[in-house]
Every structure is written in structure tokens, then in C-alpha cells.
Symmetry: C2
Subunit: 581 residues, 2 copies
């Protein structure tokens, strides 16, 4: 039985796996397998480390890296995105769940599972209702500021493992306070191990690649080998702890990690827990989606492929639901990991599915080897990874370009560091929208005149232009809507309040992309008020869509003046009229 | 001792009373006194009725009409605004306080007093921080829809007094259900009294004025006499109830109203009560401010006077605080009342202070006369007053003009009627801002060509224009900011995806009033991507403020093409280049 063609097409849209499997061949298989092996090696220490960052048992990191990858391979549209636990989402999970239960308790893990489920449902619903555009309301600088501040928070939160002490907190003040309070308990062996590993990983990142290139290795291979540094660090420090019996000397180790398949788990459906976690779930979904989509788009562009953001929501939603059902916690597409996947030659989402098999094998076979893995090593891999995300230059770049953007970034960074991730990103978004609205509510209005020898009109304050005392031409540099309707009225009234012999006011509408009902009423008020003092109101360069709408109102009948195609026509006609009179 | 001039000027700005008292003379005094007498006569039944609407004892309406008027006379800038209890704010008070206590209890009255205080503090703080512009974010259609729906709610809520039954509720469904449930208890005498009074008041409003004009009376006098109808209704029905002993026959009367000065009262400072009332107080403040300022501005414009919105916030804030300290409830500037005040010749805010004296005399002397006043009469005055505010034509006007405005109005009306005033106005505001943001996130982009014989460029789909296959000119009809940065990228990539021999893309920026950091990054991405396929990116008609900012970034150095003063220059240069080559 063959499906009718239209159904096949719509099925393919909703199940992208049906598209790429059609042309899947042996070459693609080989590429995908190679990429999967490399990503698996990179993902094992990462998934353990990020689970630790989220305050969860290490195995939950592994579980979150198995079924979610398969779900994404079925529903996702990016060919190179590598899904799994990531740093920022792990930190946000710790912040959200930390309000509800103590780390290490069963409630804490259960809440993380429920959070993954809530986040999955939100992403899925957003995908079905095509709400991907909502992510556009996160401005680039706010995201950059948020990622930078989160990186600082994450690195600071991991210092406790480097020092071998206890410390807690969801913002910089709490974390540093807690570290200082307990620093006298520092374990010297842990500290030595932590610092050495951190230094080694930094060297791997900066110094190893040039070294390998020096031996004549291909750049791509050198790059991938350098990314395997954490695996070497894990192996060496685990063996050191085992051989030297450092676990008995106060070095904290991962301990027993259960061996076997991921467990089947069910999220809680308690309305109370949902209402407590909903906002966090929403923030995690949006941040995760934005991070994931921007990586996916960058990688797709390199191969002239396209991703479908609304379908990406479905893919990530399915991943998170899969995570919740198999003992995982919130996941999304990771930056470093996806780049490695892409560079290693992944051709289709099947690479993700093969990675899942790799992690599954690790969960089945390798967990006993992780017993002596020191937490300090995992902390070092996190610190080195997140510090590459920290980039305060966004502050100086926005400062020189736009104070509005700077304000939003500075607030986001300050609030994230001072009050935690949720406060930081929420206020960042609200502030950037609020500042945009505030700006549009006080539009720039320029009085314009003719640039001699052209038909072009520019600001009289900036250019040497011709004007006529009887005709005032005002170019309004903003759409007219409720928030600036009153401003326009005030501006025009102030402009005509002087004693000049003004007979015509021309509103040049080249930058007016919309006139809403409130603004229309203000235009009517302006028209009436100008009529009372014997001044005619004209419009020029009104755009098609705006004109269509004005024609449906009575305003054009009531307006004392005319609508001109261009500002040049307007001034020519109005000054000619004078000459004729 | 004379104050230094600068202090005097700044004092006058903050205490407008110092301005108008300088030129106060006997003529002004007479005008103000006459206006005050007329407004007092109108305000007595209104203030009692609105207290009833708010679910409060009748005397609180009187108290809210004494000191608040004096406070406004000192701090307010409008010369004609008449402050006191108004219908919509009374309804909102009932909705807010009804959640906290039962009508008729001391807690209910205390909560209303606290609400007035909270609202006063909010207004004062907004005034001090010059946040009056926030009111601009209430669009005209949302306000119109809200007032209309509130009018329907208020009229419905008063039907219980006309029928002489009990009914409660904060939305139309509850109110009608409650009325239907109790309609078998209808008191026929009350119903007769209520219907007769309502019919009389409607006739006074529609029929009396033409009749008086027929007798040769001056229009303004006829207008004012017609406004005194409620006083006549109060007098006649009170006497009827007293003479016929209708109070014993089930007609509900106002009963004992305490005689004497307004009491000194103190608001609650319990954090719990404040947190419960804060949002309501904020909504009442903003709605009250918007209503008040639009009346004040309309009346000021008629006499070429100006009001200062931020100082109005201070005036209204002081009024509400005064109300809270003297047994009143939230007040604002009333529409009908201010128009009467203006028409009756009020010249300065002193008219308000004289009105306060009039109401004070009423509270001191007339309250025993109100004992037999039937509640049905007060309900009739409310119904007739608010039905004049009801105007569903805003639905049809917005439907034909703008579906976005229509959506916001329809939602506001529906939610106000179905879920109460607070839900209605909150969602209305959020929706109108949300829809505006949504629109700006998907801007109109027009491909333009030269209108033959001019230097003017218009949409190729709407006008007969000249184009060149190698040069694509795109006019972007929106400021470029974070919410539409990605949209622009997608648009440009789609446009160049066809097989045409495109060599230049010109972005015509006449409607671009801002390019924020996110959009700048998108322009950089577009430039890079176009460069890869050997297409040059140019800008034209970039406005001064936008250009200033671009010059501070590296973008202009990286851009493959040029910035042209006008679109005409751009196309001339780019097509000439081709001819030369």
C-alpha cells in the first residue's frame, strides 16, 4: 500500500527522518559513524559533569544522552545538531529545582525529571502552534550577556569541587560567601588535582592543537584530538585516585554509578509542582531553543541547508519528553558538541542516534570504571568549557554602538550574577522590549528641506537645504501608534506655536509603516486644530498598506489638505500655489 | 523677604496654585463661585450614587468630594477639572475590595480607604518620577472598549436596586445569573419608582433641553438645567417615600447618613493588605489618570491652555491621599462633571475648592434630608449616566480600519464583561502591546523601482516602475531591531535564492528609524553571505541618527557596497557602473 502523495509530503514535514532516510547510503553511514564515535568520547565526561552541575547523580547525565538523541533524530531538522545536557540549561535546572528540594534527595531528582517533561510539553506546544517567532524577542546582546554571566556563575559554582569543600548558592554573592566561609576546610590533594587538571585542559585547548599541527597532522584531526583532552584527564586522574588510594585521603569521587539500561521514569503530574516549575520550564525551553537554533542555523548555512525553527521546537520537545521518561533531565542542542559533530563529518541526524548507542554502551559497560573518577576532574572540564563562553566585550561593543542595548546587557549580566539566572534573563527580555517601546513612544521627528539640485528631502539641521517659510515639512521617523499618538500632537502644536507665517504642514510619511486607530484619532485632532488657525494639513509619501487603510476611514475626506505621492510633489504644488496667488 | 526668582519658578511648577492666584480677581471669583454652585448641585446625588456603586456607605461619597477637591486645587494644573468619585473607578473599587471583605462590613470600608491611599501613593510616585508617559501605552480603542464594557457592567449591577432585590457579581454572567435567581422577590413599588425615575432622567437628558430652548432660554443655561435633573428626581422621590411611607412597604432607602465633618481616617499599612490591593491600585491609578487627563486636555485646548501631565499625577495623587485621610475612597477627574464645570464658567481650580465647601455644607446640614432617599433613584441616576458612555460603535470602526485594533477592543470588551474590569483592562493593554510587537517583528518589505520621470521609488507591485535585473532594491518598512533581525536575514536570502543575475542588493532605509545591535549583527551576516555569492550589499537613504551609530561600528568598513544619500543616486551609480563595464 502506498500513501497518497500529499500525505507523504505532510508526513515528511512532521517527521523529517522520512526525508533524509530516502537517500541514506553506505557513504553517509560511514561519515555518521565516525562522527558518532568522536562525539560519544566527548560526551561521556561532559554528560557526567553537567549532571553534577545540575546537582544530580552522574548517571542522569548519561541517561539524558541516550533516548533524547534518538527522539531528536526522528523529529529534528538540523543535520548536525548534537542534543544532550548543556552547561547553561544544567545551571538553570539547579536553580529551578533547588527551590523545591535538597540536592541529593529523591524529590530533587524527581523534580528535575518533571522539569524536563514540562519543558518538553512547552516546546512541543510552541512547535504545534508555530510560536517559534517568540524566540526573536530575545535580543542578541541579552543572550550574549546572559551566557557570559552564566559562564561566570557556573565556573564559580565548580570551585568548591576544585577546593574539595562545600558551597551553595544561586548567585555570585551567595557562592563566593559560601566558598570563603568554608575555605579553611580545603583539601590540599583535591586542590592539587583540580588545579593540575584545569591547567592541563587549558593547555590542551590552547597549546595542543598548534603542537599537533607542527607534527604535520591535518587541522581537522588536530582539532578533534584537542577536544578529546577531557577524556584523557578523566582516565589519568581516575587511575591516579585508584592507584594512590586518594579516595581515603579526602578526595571526593563519583562513587557507584548504577550499571544498566536507563530506567523508565514518570514525571509528576501534581498541579502544585507544575505551577512551581512552570515559569522555570518556560525559561529553560526558550533559552534552550534559542541556543540550539542559533547553532543549528550557523551549521546549516555552511552547507546551504535549511532548518525549520518550528519543527526544531517539536524535535527538542520530543527530546525532553524522552529524557523525562528515561531518568534524564532537561536537554538541548549544545554548541561545542554540535561543532565537533559537524567537523567530524556528520551528514544526518543518524549520527545522533549512533551517539546514543555509544552512550548506551557506556551506561551498560563502563560505569564501574567511573567509581574512582574525582569530582574535581569533572569540575575542571566544566570550568574550562564555560570560560570559553565568557566574553565581556559585549559590554564595550554595545556601549559604543547603542546605549539602549548596553542598558539591557548590563542589567542582564548584573542581575544574573547578583540574583541568579531566572531573574537575569526575565528582566533582560522585559527590559529590552520595554526600552524598544519607550523609544518608539518618543519618535525622532525631523524638519526637512530640499537638497538643492535633487528631489530629495533631508533634515534641515544636518544638510544644507531649501525651505519655504509658509510650508513646514515634518518627517516622522516612526510608525504612528497608540504609544506615540499624543507625542505627535504635542510636537505639531509646539511647532506651529511660533509666529511664523505658516500656511501648510506636510507630514512626510516615508518612515510611517503603520497608522493605528489611536494615531488616526490624533491626526483628526491635529487636522481640526490646524484648521482653527487656518493651516492646512497634508501628507506625503504615504505607503501603500497605510494608504489602503486610510481610505477605509473618513479622515481623508475631513483632511483640509492633500495626499502627495512624493514630498517633492507636495512642496512644488504648495509653493507654486503661493506664486500663483 | 522675597524668594530668589529661580526658587519661585520651581515652586510654581510644583504648586500650580501659586501661578493662578497671582492674577486672581473679583471677576474670576464670581465665575468660579457660579460654577461651584452648579457642580455642587450635580455632585451631591452623584457622590451618593457612586458610593453605593462601590458598595460603600453613602456618606463616603460625600467625604470623597470635599478634601480631595481642595488638594487638587493646590497641586493640579487643569483649570476646569472636577475631581471626585466617578463611575468606572467606583466599579473598580468594588471589584478590588470585594475580593477582600463583605460589603457593609467595617473591613470593606477600611480596604476602600487603603485602596485610595495606595492609589494616591502610586500616582504621586509616578508624578515625581515623570512616568506620565506610561499612560500612552493604553491605546484609545482599548480605553473606549473598556469604558463601554464597564458602562454595561455598571448599569447591570444597578438593576438590583431598580427591582428591589439582591444581586452580586463582578462580571456580566454572575450579575445576570444573580438577578434571574432573585427576580421572583421583585418589589413592585420599587420597580415602579425605579422605572419612572429612569424614564424621567432619560427624558430630561434628551427632551428637556429642546423644550427649554423652545422657551427662548440660552443654550448653555438649558444645558446646565438639564444636568440638574437628578437633583429634582432625588427631591421628588424622597418626598414621595416619606409622605407615602413607602419605606415600610419594602422600598429600600439610604437611611441614616451621619451628619458632620468628614472623619479623620488612617489607611492600613499591613503588608498583606498592600500586596493584595497593589495591582488593583495600579490599575485604578492608570485608568483614573487616563480618564482625567483626556478630559483635562480637551477642556484646556478649548481655551488654549496647557496642562502638565506629570503634575496632574501629583494633583490626583494628593487628592487620593486626602481622600484616604478623610474617610473617602479612590477619586479622579470626572468627565460629565468637568464639562459642566467648564460650561458653567469655572476659570481656576478655586471653583473646585468652592465646590468642596458646598459639599461640606451638605454633609453638615443636609444629610437628615437624605434619610428617605430611595436607592432606586440613585440607581436610576447611575444607569442614565453610564449608558451615555456605552458606545459599541468602536467595534465596527476598528473592524473596518484595523483588525489589530479590533482584536484588542473585542478582547477588552469580552473579558471585561465576562471576567470583570481588572482582567479586561490588563489583557487589553498586554494584547495591544503584544500585537504591536508581533507586527513589528514581521515587517512589510517592498521591492521598489523608479517612478518614470521622477527620482521617486515605489513598490513594483503597486506602481508602474522601472527596474534593473542586476539591482534589487528592497525598502524595509520598519525599524530593524532584535525582534525582526532574523526575519530580514530570511527575506534577503529567499530573494536572492532565484536564478536572476543579481549583482547588487540595495536596502532602502528611508523607513528604518533604528538599527540595534542585533540587527547590526544580522546585517553583518547578510553582507558576508552575499559576498560569498558575489553580490554587493548597499544602503540608501540612511537617516542621520542611524548613520551616526553605524559609523561607530565596524560594519561600514566591512560592507562590500556603499551608502548612498538617496535611492536614486544608488540606482544611477550602480547601473552606470554596469554600462561603463
Amino acid at each position: 500500500m502506498t500513501l497518497p502523495k500529499i500525505t507523504r509530503a505532510s508526513l515528511e514535514r512532521h517527521l523529517p527522518i522520512l526525508q533524509w532516510t530516502k537517500t541514506y547510503d553506505r557513504d553517509t553511514l560511514t561519515s555518521d559513524m565516525v562522527a558518532a564515535v568522536i562525539v560519544t568520547i566527548m560526551l561521556i565526561p561532559q554528560s557526567l559533569a553537567y549532571a553534577l552541575l545540575a546537582g544530580l547523580p552522574a548517571e542522569m547525565g548519561l541517561y539524558a544522552s541516550i533516548l533524547p538523541l534518538v527522539a531528536y533524530a526522528i523529529f529534528g531538522t538540523s543535520r548536525a545538531l548534537a542534543v544532550g545536557p548543556v552547561a547553561v540549561v544544567s545551571l538553570m535546572t539547579a536553580a529551578a529545582v533547588g527551590n523545591m528540594a535538597l540536592q541529593g534527595t529523591a524529590e530533587y531528582a524527581a523534580a528535575a525529571i518533571t522539569l524536563a517533561f514540562i519543558s518538553g510539553v512547552i516546546l512541543l506546544v510552541m512547535g504545534v502552534f508555530r510560536l517559534g517567532f517568540l524566540a526573536n524577542f530575545l535580543s542578541h546582546p541579552v543572550i550574549a550577556g546572559f551566557i557570559t554571566a552564566s559562564g561566570v556563575l557556573i565556573a564559580t559554582s565548580q570551585l568548591k569541587h576544585i577546593f574539595g569543600i562545600d558551597a551553595h548558592g544561586h548567585n555570585l554573592v551567595q557562592l563566593i560567601g559560601s566558598l570563603l566561609e568554608n575555605q579553611h576546610l580545603t583539601n590540599p590533594i583535591t586542590l592539587f588535582l583540580g588545579l593540575t587538571t584545569t591547567a592541563f585542559l587549558f593547555w590542551v585547548r590552547k597549546g595542543l592543537k598548534p603542537l599537533l599541527l607542527g607534527t604535520g597532522m591535518k587541522p581537522r584531526m588536530a582539532d578533534i584530538l584537542a577536544k578529546a583532552g577531557p577524556v584523557a584527564a578523566v582516565a589519568v586522574t581516575t587511575i591516579a585516585v585508584w592507584l594512590l588510594g586518594l579516595g581515603d585521603k579526602g578526595v571526593k569521587i563519583v562513587g557507584e554509578v548504577p550499571m544498566g539500561l536507563p530506567p523508565l521514569t514518570a514525571p509528576s503530574f501534581s498541579p502544585e509542582i507544575w505551577s512551581q516549575l512552570f515559569i522555570s520550564g518556560l525559561l529553560i525551553s526558550i533559552i534552550g531553543f534559542v541556543e540550539s537554533v542559533s547553532v543549528a542555523q550557523t551549521l546549516a548555512a555552511k552547507k546551504r541547508q535549511r532548518i525549520v525553527p518550528d519543527q526544531e521546537l517539536v524535535g527538542l520537545g520530543a527530546s525532553n519528553i524522552a529524557s523525562a521518561l528515561t531518568g534524564g533531565y532537561p536537554v538541548t542542542g549544545g554548541f561545542a558538541r554540535s561543532v565537533v559533530n559537524f567537523d567530524a563529518g556528520a551528514e544526518t541526524p543518524a549520527a545522533g542516534a549512533f551517539t546514543a548507542v555509544g552512550i548506551l554502551l557506556a551506561a551498560l559497560l563502563l560505569t564501574p570504571l567511573l567509581y574512582f573518577l574525582p569530582k574535581a576532574t569533572l569540575a575542571a572540564t566544566i570550568i574550562v568549557a564555560v570560560l570559553s563562553l565568557v566574553d565581556f566585550s559585549i559590554l564595550s561593543r554595545t556601549w559604543s554602538y547603542s546605549k539602549v542595548d548596553f542598558t539591557a546587557v548590563a542589567a542582564t549580566i548584573f542581575l544574573t550574577l547578583g540574583f541568579g539566572v531566572e531573574m537575569g534573563v526575565s528582566v533582560g527580555v522585559i527590559l529590552s522590549i520595554g526600552l524598544f517601546l519607550y523609544k518608539t513612544s518618543r519618535p525622532h521627528v525631523a524638519e526637512v528641506g530640499l537638497v538643492p539640485g535633487t528631489q530629495h528631502f533631508r533634515n534641515i539641521k544636518r544638510h544644507d537645504v531649501e525651505t519655504h517659510p509658509e510650508v513646514v515639512s515634518l518627517r516622522i521617523d516612526e510608525s504612528l501608534y497608540f504609544a506615540n499618538a499624543r507625542f505627535l500632537e504635542d510636537y505639531v502644536y509646539n511647532r506651529i506655536a511660533c509666529d511664523e507665517p505658516i500656511r501648510h504642514v506636510v507630514l512626510m510619511c516615508s518612515a510611517v509603516n503603520e497608522i493605528d486607530m489611536s494615531a488616526l484619532e490624533s491626526l483628526e485632532a491635529i487636522n481640526e486644530r490646524l484648521e482653527a488657525v487656518d493651516i492646512k494639513l497634508h501628507l506625503s509619501e504615504v505607503k501603500g498598506p497605510v494608504m489602503d487603510r486610510l481610505k477605509r476611514s473618513h479622515f481623508l475626506d475631513e483632511m483640509t489638505g492633500e495626499v502627495f505621492l512624493s514630498q517633492y510633489d507636495a512642496v512644488s504644488a504648495l509653493t507654486k500655489e503661493k506664486t500663483a496667488a
